[in-house]
Structures are given as structure tokens and as C-alpha cells.
Amino acid sequence: MLRIPYCVAYGIREINVLAEKYRLEIDKILAKYPPEHKRSAVMPLLYLAQTEYGCLTQTAMAEVGDLCGLSATQVAGVVGFYTLYHDHPAGRRYVQICTDLPCALRGADKFADDLCQKLGVKLGGTTKDGAFTVEAVMCLAGCAKAPMFQVQDADGLHYHESESAEKPMTVEQAVSILEGYQKK
């Protein structure tokens, strides 16, 4: 198959690490939307960039913008609007504990506080070794299995829920789940 250089294929002049490294993925993402609406690809492309760069740096946002026909400022607007995009470096993984009403009725606030204490952080803070940034977040659609949390890392998002209402997750169990991530 004839391979056109990415800069020609995407109409980009400057160096674009994403385009160079993830040609196949980018083509797949762009194919999902009508060619005249390339802008729609901004969200999946941002996930791709976040995986590559760890967080959405200025460079990352400019590259994403080049790929879907947006300015870096427009991309930054999208990044700022959604909570799963991160524009500054944090821990290698986000631990996001749901403390919304249904979970809170089942003790999620105490669970979050206790887990933070065990990890030696405050909510919103990062552990000393830089492994985890712990946050309280809004409802994750896991209300029946509270307390619960998700871990966001380079591989995506992973849910960790209580087995059942009778067997809520303990802080010790949560800690051992997180230790599992560190062995990865």
C-alpha cells in the first residue's frame, strides 16, 4: 500500500509526534465521523494524546488541534470543560472515589477519608512517591456497590466496587487493590 507521509495526509506542516506514532489509531478515529466534521474527533484524540503524554501539555493540545482542524485554544477549551482530561501533571494514576449522595448514604465519605489517611494524602493530593492522586468525584454509576472508586491511568479507567451491600469494600481491600497497580 502506498504510504503518504502523515504531514501530507493530514495537511500538517510541523512535527507531530502523535501523527507519527499513532497513524493507524488516528485514521480509525477520523473514520468514525463525516470527513467534513473532523472536529468531532477532538475527544477521542485527546484521550490518545493523554495516553502518550501523561497529561495534556501545550504540545499535545496543539498536535490534537492540527489533526482535527482546531486551534490550540479551542482544544484547551474542550480540555478545561471535561473532568477526565488533565492539563497538568499529577500522580501516575488518579484514584477517584465517588462521594455523591447514594454512595455517601453508604459511608463513602468516611471511606474516602480513611483511605486518604492510609495513603498519607489529603483529598486532591498526590502520594509522596507520585504513584496516586486521590480525588473525590461525582457519581460513577456504581451506586449499588458503594463504596467504590475508579482508577484512571495510561491504560484507561478501571472500576473497583464493593462485592455487595452486605460486603462493602474495606479500606484495607482498597489499599491492596492499589498495591496491585504499583506492581504493574
Binding site: 470543560f81 477526565l84 453508604r106 454509576a141 451506586c143 449499588a144 479507567l157 478501571h158
Partner: protein, 445 residues
Amino acid sequence: MPEHILLRHRDIPDLHQLEVYLQHGGYEAFKKAVTTMTPQQVIDEVRNSGLRGRGGAGFPTGVKWGFLTKAFPRYVVANSDESEPGTFKDRELLERNPHQFFEGLMIAAYAAQANLAYNYMRGEFWNIALRLDAALDELRARGFLGQNLFGAAYSLDIHNHLGAGAYICGEESALLESIEGKLGQPRLKPPFPADKGLYNKPTVVNNTETLANVPFIIAKGAAEYRKFGTEKSPGVKVFCLSGNVNRPGNYELELGKFTLRQLIDDFGGGAPGGKKVKAILMSGASSNVLMGTDDVLDAPMDYETIQAKGAALGSASVIVVDESVDMAWLTLKTTRFFKHESCGKCTPCREGTYWMLNLLERLNKNDAVKADVDLLNTVAAQIQNKCLCPLGEFAIAPVLTSLKQFRADFDAHTKDAAKKPAPAARPAPARPAPAKAAEPAPAGD
């Protein structure tokens, strides 16, 4: 209920696998629609079934499909954004019975004569999206998606689109903005999506659970579907039970055939420790709060009855609140959610939720006076009917109804309350009121 219609995976193991789904009549309804029915016949069948939107608004699905204006291309979008606190039904469907949902989406696309459909999922459903991407590839390989389906002149493709953590994208016009690569902010309506939706083209947006009902209706007919539920609220509904109950979870029930008490006590095992039910939120955090009176608890759960009791059945995300819960704390929780999720487009919602949260935080620290409770009421009332989308209304619903029905819970936190303040999370300040000049108020979180 003998057999599930929506949560069929509970009766049939491994239903998420295409092979198993096909063995149990999978995609027969879609084939029937494409090969033997006109799009209009499909719309009529769904309209006759009386199916209403299961995402919250409860709008008749077939009627919605009939609103599409005569322009092409058209799009169909599944709303799998499911972000309402207390709602986790779509997630179970997408995880365990995805093909039934896809089949419903495909039938809807055929009815709308759309050749492209999107499934918009909240970003947290990342792992589900990976599986669903694979499922769509499988459907393409097996000829259920693609050109000239079943030898007919109809072509269709479906793509998954992941959001990134914004509740507001569950509002249909905000969702469309989000797919278009813009900020997820609602549009001014009209024009409605049926006229100018995705990429300014006629678009149908339906909730995941709504679509999961469609294959049954097409396969067995509207009359068969109407055998479930009541005359005005036909069919089945997944009730998400959460909060202070022993067995929270999803329960698929016929509409109007079960009371709240049955749901909470018989299915949910009652409140832990045999406590009394103080309040119920029928459709997640955005509900009008219902008091746990016999009148409410013995009401059959259908759209009309719940409406008559002062709330909406909505997505049927039932959050049970027992007598140990302080409603001032509860409204703090819901308000924090809506303040965080306000998209910032409309001033009353953006500013109003901010000030409501301020007042509620002060109240919950026992640092407010009775006039602050009145002020809370005023701020909430000023948001009413002043926003582009329902989020503003959602934010104030639990606050206004709690203030009305449980005012004592709020007053108990005030310094000038008649009685001693109720025990709260933090001890009341030791010094009397006048001395609190420059005490820094720490932000909540």
C-alpha cells in the same frame, strides 16, 4: 416477574456474546423491520406500544421519531451518558446485554432512515466501550452492519463515542454539541434535534434503556408489549434502587404494578437496622424529594401516579433516605453535585448553584442564621424557569422540596434556632456569634 425483557442476561448466561444473543432470537427484530416493514410502520408500531423515554423526560418514543423533518442525512444517537446520581441501569445493559441495546438502536436508525448512528457513553465507561467496539466489529463482520443489509437497500454503521466526565452531556443538545467536538453546553430550543440536531441535521436521541425495549416491540408487536404495565404507562422499567436499603440494585418491574413499599421492602430488603424511610428521591439527585409517608409508599410506580405525588418517575433511580439522615446534609450533597456539573452557560444556574452551595456549607458548619435558610429558598426560587436546560431546575428540586417538607432539619443548624443545634459533623464554634469577624471560611473541596 417470570422472565426479564430488558435484563434478559439474568435469565440467559453469556447473553453479551453475539453467538448466544443470536441463538435467542437476536437481530430477528431488526431483520424483520428492514425486510418486511417500512420505516413508517416501525414508527407506528413503537408509537402504538406507548413506550416512553426511560432517560428521564418520559416523552413518547414513537412520537419523537415521527417529528423528524424531511431532510437528509439523518442521525440517531443513543444517550448512554448515564451520570445522574443513583442511576446505574444503562451501565448494566451495556455491560451485560449490549446486543439488545444495539438492535434497538439499529431499528431506531432504520425507522429514522439514518445511515449513521452514534452511541454516546460517559467517559467512565471506558472498558465497556472497548468491548462494545469489538462487538460492533463483529456485527460488521457478520453482516448486521454495513451496506445493503439483508439484501435490502438499507445501509447502516454505528460508532461509539466516549464523553469525558460531564453530567450536562446527558442533556440531548449538549450531547450533540459534545459529539461535534465542542463544549458540552445545551442549545437554545427550538429548533429541536428532530429538526436540527447532530451537524444541523434531523436527529433522534434516545436513552439506552428506551432503545433496549424496541426489539421486543418489533418482534412481538405493540399489543404484546402493552400487556405489561398500565394503560397510560405500558411496559417494563428498570428501577435502580440505592441509598439506605439492604439490597440495592437494578430491578426490572412492570410499570404501575408495584408500590414503592414493595420495591424498598420486598425487593430491597428495607432500610438497614429496620429504620423508617424518611424520604425518597424518585429520579436521582435531581428529584423533588418525597416524604416517606404511607400515601407515597403505597403509591403504584407509574408516570402518572408519581407525578400526582409531586415528583417525576424519570429514570426511576430510587434513592432511599432513612430517618437518621439530615436533609441539610442531603441537599449539600446534591447541590455540590449540580454546582460542579453546571456548564456555566446560563447565569442563574452557574451563579445560583454557587451561592446555594455557599449557604449550605455555612449551614452544615452550624455557622448560619435562620435568615440564611430563607435566603437559600430565595436563591433557589430565582433559578427556577430561567435556564436553557433542565439542570437549573434539577439543582433546585431537592433543595426547595426539602426546605418545604423538612424545614426543621435546616433550622436546627442555625445559631438562632429555638432548640440546641442538632449534632453535626463538626462541633459548633465555641465563641458566641458577634466575635466571628475575620474567620477564614475554608472552601469545601
